[in-house]
């Protein structure tokens, strides 16, 4: 990151003046933390006692045999407290908030995972908490809303725009500019104004640091390829960062192909004619926008990937060809999820299933002496309403119908 918050041509901090001081303070505190080894120690300690770090690296023997190519290893961020990598970032920012003495946190959430993680952190650190969530996502992810509320957070459904993640971000910014003095905005991914992209990636880098040690221990050498799904880009940056300088490790980001790249109904921001450079939500990156610069509607079966922008760091790595980008359609993703459940007894989140789908396409071409790592950013059991729906499971439907009737009749 340069002094203005750019990564090559991307990034920056396009923020309203009212936030200027707050960003100065945030940047200063963040710089202090980065220079203070005790901070990282405190972070590691928190993550290993409150969450489950280091998370395991699982050798997926059955899948490896099934494809007959490289050895497949799965980095198990699903085993984090609250069920996804989002906890890494949130807990880190929680420590920052404590240092800055703020009393309230706000956050946007798409899949609900980041909202869950933030509500959790707020409960643990005794902070007030408000979560903004697109109305459509509130519907898709009702269970998460229930838990956030139970943990004491206020969840506000956002009814503007496409009623998904980007609108929740706008609304969170509106809150922040209003309550800037006592409030910290816990940005949920490696996007937004600097220093968020770098800071979030820093907290998430724990994933790759662990994975590097683990793959050497189990496999004896660096992996050939690493796959991660890319929504905002935080889990991808988290696992990629440590490997950026490893020449022989190819890094692959998998975006949400939705109904297909030609359908106009997807969330592919890189390698896609529907996307172009833009500035929104406080930063410059590749956005899905029209020729006027208006943001487009996006679609993915995975709420957490259903977003118009992408980490400026990833746009930079894309431009510099340090990371390859692919996409997987909703259908491919459901198939990859199904296979992973049946073969390994592991339920990746729909978001993470994109990384699996991307990897499954290619792994057969590698040698059994090679290894690949798939970053399982979260667990899928949170997605029961979406997954059971997508599989059109009849007994699930009957169960819901019956429950609904029971509630209606009272």
């Amino acid at each position: 990151m340069d002094k203005k918050g750019f990564f090559g041509n991307w990034g920056g901090a396009y923020i309203p003046e009212v936030l200027y001081q707050t960003f100065q303070e945030l940047q200063k505190e963040y710089d202090r933390c980065r220079q203070d080894p005790a901070f990282w120690e405190e972070y590691l300690n928190l993550m290993s006692t409150y969450s489950c770090r280091p998370t395991p690296l699982t050798h997926a023997e059955n899948l490896s045999n099934y494809f007959g190519g490289a050895q497949i290893y799965i980095k198990r961020e699903d085993l984090n407290h609250t069920g996804a990598h989002k906890a890494n970032n949130v807990m880190g920012q929680g420590l920052l908030v404590k240092r800055m003495g703020k009393k309230r946190v706000i956050a946007e959430t798409g899949a609900g995972q980041h909202g869950m993680a933030t509500a959790t952190m707020a409960a643990k650190f005794g902070l007030e908490c408000t979560i903004y969530m697109g109305e459509e996502d509130v519907l898709r992810q009702r269970p998460n809303v229930f838990w956030m509320e139970k943990m004491g957070a206020t969840v506000i459904p956002v009814k503007d725009g496409s009623r998904t993640l980007k609108d929740a971000i706008n609304e969170a910014f509106r809150d922040w500019v209003t309550n800037v003095d006592d409030t910290h905005y816990v940005f949920g991914t490696a996007c937004g104004p600097a220093p968020f992209p770098e800071m979030v990636s820093w907290f998430q880098s724990i994933i790759g640091i662990e994975a590097a040690e683990q793959i050497i221990k189990y496999h004896g050498k660096m992996p050939a390829k690493i796959y991660a799904c890319v929504g905002g880009g935080s889990n991808a940056m988290g696992i990629f960062k440590r490997f950026l300088d490893e020449k022989d490790v190819e890094l692959i980001g998998v975006e949400a192909g939705g109904h297909g790249i030609d359908s106009g109904s997807h969330a592919i921001r890189l390698n896609c004619p529907d996307a172009s450079p833009g500035v929104a939500q406080g930063y410059k990156t590749m956005f899905l926008q029209d020729e006027d610069g208006q943001m487009k509607h996006t679609h993915s079966v995975a709420a957490g990937l259903d977003y118009v922008g992408v980490s400026p760091i990833l746009s930079d790595l894309w431009e510099k060809k340090q990371v390859r980008f692919e996409s997987a359609t909703d259908n491919e993703v459901m198939q990859a999820l199904d296979l992973t459940m049946k073969k390994e007894g592991i339920i990746p989140a729909l978001e993470s299933s994109h990384a699996f789908a991307g990897a499954f396409r290619e792994v057969g071409k590698l040698s059994p002496d090679d290894a690949i790592i798939i970053n399982q950013s979260g667990r899928g059991d949170k997605d029961i309403f979406t997954i059971a729906h997508a599989f059109a499971d009849p007994s699930w439907k009957k169960f819901i119908i019956d429950r609904g009737k029971e509630y209606s009749s009272k």
Binding site: K4, I15, P16, E17, D181, A280
Partner: protein, 254 residues
């Protein structure tokens, strides 16, 4: 004539100037036309025309909705520019564009400046473009003589205000409070201290916006600020009573 000079001249004649705000294409360009006519006829000194953007992160519910409805009705940037040129041509007061940076960035920054200058637009207000991010923007503003209006916030330190003032032209837009457009502001002691700090930091004219809604509000600003900005209030008025209510409302403000 440059924006600053134009406004200073007017300011010499009035104890406070009035700037109003409209969202282009909302509820329609025809309504915009009528509203602007009434504004000008009732003595408004400057008008900021907001080119709608899908992500108006600094705007409150009223303007947010106006942005979204305008876009949903099919408003294009080109329509806005054509309309802006028409207004600047027709009326003798300064017109500004207010929008978010992506609209300009995506259009092509220099093309946008050239076009606006040709069309007689006097300045730009871009709430998500702090000067640190606006190097080329500020250079082009100079080149095309379109004033970059910078914004002070109550959270800005005096040092920061000086820095902003160094980049600003035309006038300084002082946000009356934290938050987004549309909500009422309090004009107590803190507000006065804030305006004093603004005054000390720059010799540019000071416009005050965010939550100015009535003759009383404007009365309070007299002697402290040079220009009062009426934003969401007229949009709500048009929503509830139609464009024809704007004239009387403006007339009653001073």
């Amino acid at each position: 004539m440059q924006l600053e000079q134009q406004l200073r001249d007017k300011r010499n004649e009035k104890d406070i100037l009035l700037m109003t705000h409209i969202v282009l294409g909302y509820p329609s360009f025809a309504a915009n036309r009528e509203v602007i006519r009434q504004m000008v006829e009732n003595g408004v000194d400057c008008i900021e025309m907001q080119i709608p953007f899908s992500e108006p992160m600094a705007d409150g519910p009223v303007i947010l909705k106006a942005n979204q409805d305008s876009l949903a009705a099919g408003t294009k940037v080109e329509d806005c520019l054509t309309f802006g040129a028409e207004m600047a041509e027709k009326y003798d007061i300064p017109f500004l564009y207010m929008t978010y940076y992506n609209i300009i960035f995506k259009y092509g920054e220099e093309d946008f400046f050239r076009r606006a200058a040709e069309d007689g637009i006097k300045g730009f207000i871009i709430p998500d473009l702090p000067p640190e991010m606006g190097e080329s923007f500020l250079t082009l503003a100079d080149k095309y003589q379109v004033a970059p209006i910078l914004i002070f916030a109550p959270t800005s330190t005096t040092e920061r205000m000086r820095e902003l003032a160094g980049y600003g032209q035309g006038f300084i837009y002082c946000a009356a409070r934290r938050g987004v457009t549309g909500k009422k502001s309090e004009f107590g002691k803190d507000f006065n201290d804030y305006l004093n700090r603004c005054r000390e930091a720059t010799s540019l004219l000071l416009a005050v916006g965010f939550g100015i809604q009535s003759r009383e509000d404007i009365e309070i600003l007299k002697g402290k600020a040079d220009m009062a900005v009426i934003g969401s209030r007229t949009i709500s008025l048009v929503d509830s009573e139609g464009p024809e209510a704007v004239g009387p409302f403006i007339a009653g403000l001073r």
